[in-house]
Amino acid sequence: MKNLFYKHESFFYTLFTIITLIVVWQIASMTTSMTKVFPAPQAVVEKLYEMSTGTFAKYSLFEHIAISLERVLIAFLAAVVLGIPLGLFMGWSDKVDAFVKPIFEIVRPIPPIAWIPLAILWFGVGETPKIALCFLASFIPAVVNSYTGIKYVNPLLLDVALTLGAKPRSVFLEVAVPSALPAIFAGLQNGISVGWMTVVAAEMFGATSGVGFIILKGQDLSNPTIIVSGMIVIGLLGALISIIIRLLERVICPWKREI
């Protein structure tokens, strides 16, 4: 038991803090009048249960989650398929770089959220604007990291490959791209978390479903319990997504240790 404790020391501390937090939170909400502005944990659990067994604004909690995840995943896949090659080509050829840079550099500093009004003007309030915003949010880090990844490939590796008679094409595909993979994955990690954040934001404008919609609906109803329940779901899913990407990274590029 003692051994087990030391092995997972930080895990136990985390568990301890979470439990303490919930206990303090519950006690505070029973003894003070804070529940008017912040719900008790019990109320949140009940609300979550109620939303997952029943419906909240036409959908159950799981359907809201599925809808949000679907938006993020479609956008993310599109961003991966288009963003990584673009970034790689920009990093590899200075002509492609020179061509894309001026436009990319104008778009890059604009936060994806600032596109919301224009996206609504263009695509209305259906699925398209949400996916488009989310795409943009994941696309930029995918491009930037593939670009820097391939720019900073150790020149020694390239020279070795060239000396051994490799053609530029296979230097690119077999040396440069694999050694840029860790950086690319960092970009994907970043991209999906910005994408998740953006889908939440996009769902707060004129949506009728999704996790972002839940918290905005909670605001309309002046119901902090709904808001906090929604926030917890958003946080848990965000954490889950980044864990999955990290696992994926370990499978796809096991040679990466630390960046």
Binding site: D94, K101, A114, K151, G235
Partner: protein, 270 residues
């Protein structure tokens, strides 16, 4: 330093600078003319897209004109910037200090660190509804959200930075008889600075993005409010001016931060 290395590489295409500049110029002009053509030819209705010429004209008019959203562009900029900069400086400053202390003093660490693990995955944007419920639409709600947005990344990165302090250096300090505080200030903090700056940069992005989000949802002034009003009035020119200004200011603030980083991190690789 790295750019010179890249140029030495055999595989990379090395084009003369002038050619690259011409390609960039061509691409930019091509972009503008396609954009202009789309609007002028009516392919994109002027109700949903404004041409580059209109955008420039609107930007100039908006410098002094308050229509249709009740304030001039400089007033909106001022409103957003004051809030972003003060909120950011306070939050990122506190955050960096807390992060450094957390990483150095183990007892603080064990209590506070798991709390951050809980709050980290919740995007700052999703705090907007709750803070509007608490503080109403106004300065307080925005200040709260920006504080949160800037605070968390700053803490996490400073924390990670000081945790990575080379133990050899700490031992040298100890051997030479320095106190824990002295080691913290003279070895720990300088060692953590690159990561601290990474945190500051992430905080800045996060704060600026979140401010825009907050202004879209609940505000009566600011750039986010301006573009939201542009949408209500069906004025794509105002939206695009607003977006460009938001992007430009964001880039400008990052630039200032990068300059500061170079100043404090001379001779060090990040």
């Amino acid at each position: 330093m790295t750019s010179s290395k890249i140029k030495e590489r055999g595989v990379m295409n090395k084009s003369p600078r002038i050619i690259l500049f011409l390609i960039s110029l061509f691409s930019f002009l091509l972009f503008l003319s396609i954009w202009e053509y789309l609007v002028d030819s009516g392919t994109m209705s002027s109700r949903i897209l404004a041409s580059p010429r209109e955008v420039v004209a609107t930007a100039i008019i908006k410098l002094t004109d308050t229509a249709p959203d009740g304030a001039t562009l400089p007033q909106h900029i001022q409103s957003s910037m004051i809030l972003a900069v003060t909120g950011y400086v306070v939050a990122a400053g506190f955050g960096a200090i807390l992060g450094l202390l957390m990483g150095w003093f183990k007892r603080v660490d064990r209590i506070v660190q798991p709390l951050f693990e809980i709050f980290r995955p919740i995007p700052p944007i999703s705090w907007i509804p709750l803070s509007i419920l608490w503080f109403g639409i106004g300065l307080q709600a925005k200040a709260f959200i920006i504080f949160y947005a800037a605070f968390v990344p700053s803490v996490i990165n400073s924390y990670a930075g000081i945790k990575m302090t080379d133990p050899t250096l700490i031992n040298v300090g100890k051997t030479c008889g320095a106190s824990n505080f002295k080691i913290f200030f003279r070895i720990g903090i300088p060692y953590a600075l690159p990561m601290v700056f990474t945190g500051l940069r992430l905080s800045l992005n996060s704060a600026w993005m979140t401010l825009v989000g907050a202004e879209l949802l609940a505000a009566t002034s600011g750039l986010g409010y301006m573009i939201q009003m542009g949408r209500s009035y069906g004025r794509p020119d105002i939206i695009i001016v607003g977006m460009l200004v938001i992007g430009l200011l964001g880039a400008l603030m990052s630039f200032v931060l990068t300059k500061a980083e170079h100043h404090y991190n001379r001779g060090r690789k990040a």
